[in-house]
């Protein structure tokens, strides 16, 4: 469970996140949406402890991130938009390293290594160096490594960037399965169709403020909008693009890029 209370962060005069209050319960797949620069990555970085908030607090499964960071990190799995891998390790060595970092039993690491590398189509590349793997293979390896210590909370920044359709399908199914098994999944994405397909709830951030929160159908009803998530998104974030409010209600949204 993620509990965010009055969270704020500024960079100089720019207010990246303003007074964010949010609870993501256990087993929910939550999608955080917003235009570029809305504060999504800053929020996810505050959830992982990489960025300290100016005000407010974050609790992960009851552990306050500021007071008890190590216990909170133990329960967390984080995949940034550009994840780092040690290029001169082989996939099993990398998994062994991550397992050691999180204190995962060696036998379990070996077992997971066998099962998951096969499941993620990496079994034939066990002896290759990570630096020699393709982008998609590295992404898959990152997922295997992140799931290794059975995190209770998953924070993923842009989970599907640069992946092929097969891997995208696989990741979407995996995230849904994780949520069903009780893991809290918090992800940010720009692909609205993905959010529409897999999210239990979405939150829309605009200029650092949470402007909408709830299941997609509820949002449509609440804002008296018909159509897809794209219309809701464009209407609620019109201000970010300097467009008149309600732009998304038009049948064909104006070209904004």
């Amino acid at each position: 469970m993620i509990e965010i209370e009055n969270l704020s962060k500024s960079y100089g005069t720019v207010r990246a996140v303003i007074d964010l209050n949010l609870v993501v319960p256990r087993g929910e797949l939550f999608c955080f949406l917003g235009p570029n620069g809305a504060g999504k990555t800053t929020t996810i970085k505050m959830l992982t402890g990489l960025v300290h908030p100016d005000a407010g607090s974050v609790r992960l499964c009851g552990f306050d991130l500021a007071r008890d960071p190590l216990a909170a990190r133990q329960l967390l799995g984080y995949i940034p938009d550009l994840p780092f891998l040690y290029e001169r390790l082989t996939p099993p060595e990398f998994l062994e390293f991550v397992g050691d970092l999180y204190g995962v039993d060696r036998q379990r690491v070996n077992q997971t290594c066998d099962e998951e590398l096969t499941r993620f189509g990496l079994a034939d590349h066990r002896r290759a160096l990570v630096g020699d793997l393709s982008h998609g293979m590295r992404q898959r390896l990152i997922y295997v490594a992140t799931f290794l210590h059975d995190p209770q909370i998953l924070c993923i920044d842009e989970p599907l960037v640069g992946l092929d359709p097969y891997t995208i399908r696989m990741i979407k199914d995996l995230l849904k399965a994780k949520a069903r098994s009780g893991v809290t999944v918090f992800l940010t994405t720009h692909i609205l169709a993905v959010a529409e397909e897999i999210a239990d709830r979405v939150g829309i951030l605009s200029k650092g403020r949470l402007v909408a929160l709830g299941p997609i159908d509820d949002l449509k009803k609440r804002h008296d909008l018909h159509g897809d998530l794209e219309s809701i998104f464009l209407t609620l974030t019109a201000d970010d693009y300097g467009l008149p409010t309600g732009a998304g209600k038009e049948e064909s949204p104006p070209c904004i890029l």
Partner: protein, 554 residues
């Protein structure tokens, strides 16, 4: 398992996999890099040994100085290690690519900082292999000391290097944690204070009436006194090694104990500061918003200066200059190297070197040319050589633009040359003015510095294009590759090939072994040869690099 052991185990795996990586490299490349490292090691050994023999030839003063030099080199090395520790700690603590992975894992900050600190110490260990070891070997051979001397040096050098790197790490942690909000104003204030102190320090003073030996000692004594201070870790190190070499085991072990206990204290401070400050220092650094107005003003000024070169060259040069100025690793290293040389050259009059006999002044002038050239070689290998490869994934922007590869390559070359040539010529002009040498020597050395800037920039840009590696984003990996090592080796060879033929006739002239007419005749012959060599060294790599860029598929 302790978090530190987990991290070291990972490094063990990486080290074991080095075998796989090396096997892929051609045997020639590996042997070339090894041969270069060995050549550098034995070259330095030979240079140190001839230095000791030269001092011995001076008689009494030289003999006394040799005795003190052992302590002095550890003082100099200690200062260098602290500076190196500052740069490597900043880079490994705050700029390394694995920091997000490690910071989100349940590793305590203290362990993370200790791990990064040990990485920084390892990066600094080059000093042991390339300075301490050849120096100690040369010293042991010259002074006919026991073969164990090198072993004692190793015993003391490891804690000494850790101690100095630790000071660098402590400085970085404290500075980043409390980095001033108005950094620019503080930098200006600090610069003004430093300039004032420098002006006071280098003010001309009357030369005492001393003969050469006394003069030499009196100039070195302030440094020697500092090096002989019993509270300094360099003194514990040098005295400890000498005590063990003389068979004074008790005294030697006592000094080793003092050094090790102080080193452990430094490690403890690093660990504690890491736990206390690292997270907050990261927040402080990542939360800095650069002043936009200053950037805009600088951008506008550069734009104006570069406008005569046309929009494409201006755009390319502006991008490179901005990238350089916004990377503290790049400009801080250049500033430290050139700043130290500038400080030393500005101090030449304070040391009354201008009042030395011609033989000495001539020697110092060419040593200064040599130092500036060595810094030019290392900086062009570090920054100019990898600049094309570092375009990386963004290379398509340049590749698809109407700029053309020829213009891209030449703009990079001329941008680097403008900076390198201006700084090196200014430094040599300062050095020769301070030493008050004859106009001919001044002209020749300034021309030499320009030739070296031209040659090294041509070599680095050209070889950087030939050995282009767009997949590698780590500049250090590019620099330490085969192409990078070849570039450094060729630059150093070019530097020696240009300086030595010029230095020799001036040396013979200052010793009155040849007259002014012979000197002029020799220069008339050497000058065109150096010009020819410089042009070949500059344009052949550029031409080959351009051909390689144009033929390459992206």
């Amino acid at each position: 398992m302790h978090p530190l052991m987990v991290l070291y185990k990972k490094d063990g795996h990486i080290l074991a996999n080095l075998n796989t990586v090396l096997r892929r490299e051609s045997r020639f490349k590996v042997l070339f890099i090894l041969a270069f490292a060995l050549g550098l090691f034995f070259g330095l050994y030979a240079a140190f040994l001839s230095g000791f023999r030269f001092l011995n030839l001076l008689g009494g003063a030289g003999f006394m100085v040799t005795r003190y030099l052992f302590s002095l080199i550890f003082l100099a090395l200690g200062i260098m290690m602290v500076l190196s520790g500052i740069i490597t700690s900043y880079s490994s603590l705050f700029r390394s690519r694995d920091s997000i992975l490690l910071l989100t894992s349940p590793i305590p900050d203290s362990s993370l900082v200790l791990y990064k600190f040990s990485e920084s110490c390892l990066l600094s260990s080059w000093a042991f292999f390339f300075i301490i070891l050849p120096y100690t070997l040369a010293y042991a051979v010259h002074e006919k000391l026991s073969p164990f001397f090198v072993g004692w040096t190793l015993l003391f050098s490891i804690p000494f290097l850790i101690f100095c790197s630790g000071l660098g790490t402590i400085i970085v942690l404290l500075f980043i944690r409390w980095i001033p909000r108005h950094l620019r104003e503080w930098v200006i204030l600090f610069g003004l204070v430093a300039a004032g102190l420098l002006a006071y320090y280098i003010r001309p003073t009357a030369r005492p009436g001393l003969d050469d030996s006394q003069f030499l000692l009196s100039r070195l004594i302030p440094g020697l006194q500092l090096a002989s201070n019993p509270l300094g870790p360099n003194w514990w190190t040098s005295e400890g090694i000498m005590s063990l070499a003389r068979g004074q085991v008790g005294r030697g072990l006592l000094l080793w104990g003092v050094l090790v206990s102080n080193t452990l204290m430094v490690i403890w401070i690093v660990r504690s500061l890491g736990q206390l400050l690292f997270a907050r220092a990261c927040q402080r650094l990542w939360g800095i918003v650069p002043p936009r107005r200053g950037r805009e003003r600088l951008g506008a000024a550069l734009d104006h200066v570069l406008s005569p070169f046309g929009s494409i060259s201006r755009g390319l040069a502006l991008k490179d200059i901005r990238t350089f100025l916004r990377d503290p690793m790049q400009w801080s290293q250049s500033l430290i190297f050139f700043g130290l040389l500038g400080f030393y050259f500005a101090s030449l009059r304070t040391f009354h070197y201008h009042a030395l006999p011609d033989v000495w002044r001539n020697l110092i002038v060419f040593l200064n040319v040599f130092s500036v050239a060595a810094v030019l070689c290392s900086l062009s290998s570090r920054f100019v050589y990898p600049q094309l490869s570092l375009e990386g994934q963004a290379f398509w922007i340049i590749g698809l633009s109407p700029a053309g590869m020829r213009r891209v390559l030449l703009t990079k070359f001329f941008t680097a040359l403008a900076a390198m040539a201006t700084i090196s010529a200014a430094l040599i002009a300062l050095s020769t003015t301070m030493l008050g040498v004859a106009p001919l020597l001044k002209t020749v050395t300034i021309s030499l510095s320009l030739a070296i800037a031209l040659g090294t920039c041509g070599l680095s840009t050209g070889l950087g294009a030939i050995f282009l590696n767009l997949k590698q984003s780590n500049p250090m990996a590019i620099v330490s590759s085969f192409g990078g090592t070849l570039n450094l080796a060729l630059s150093l060879m070019f530097m020696a090939a240009v300086i030595l033929p010029c230095a020799l006739p001036f040396h013979l002239f200052s010793q009155e072994k040849i007259g002014p007419a012979t000197l002029h005749h020799m220069l008339e012959f050497i000058g065109p040869a150096i010009v020819g060599l410089t042009l070949l060294t500059t344009f052949i790599p550029l031409w080959l690099g351009l051909r390689s860029l144009q033929r390459r598929e992206y």
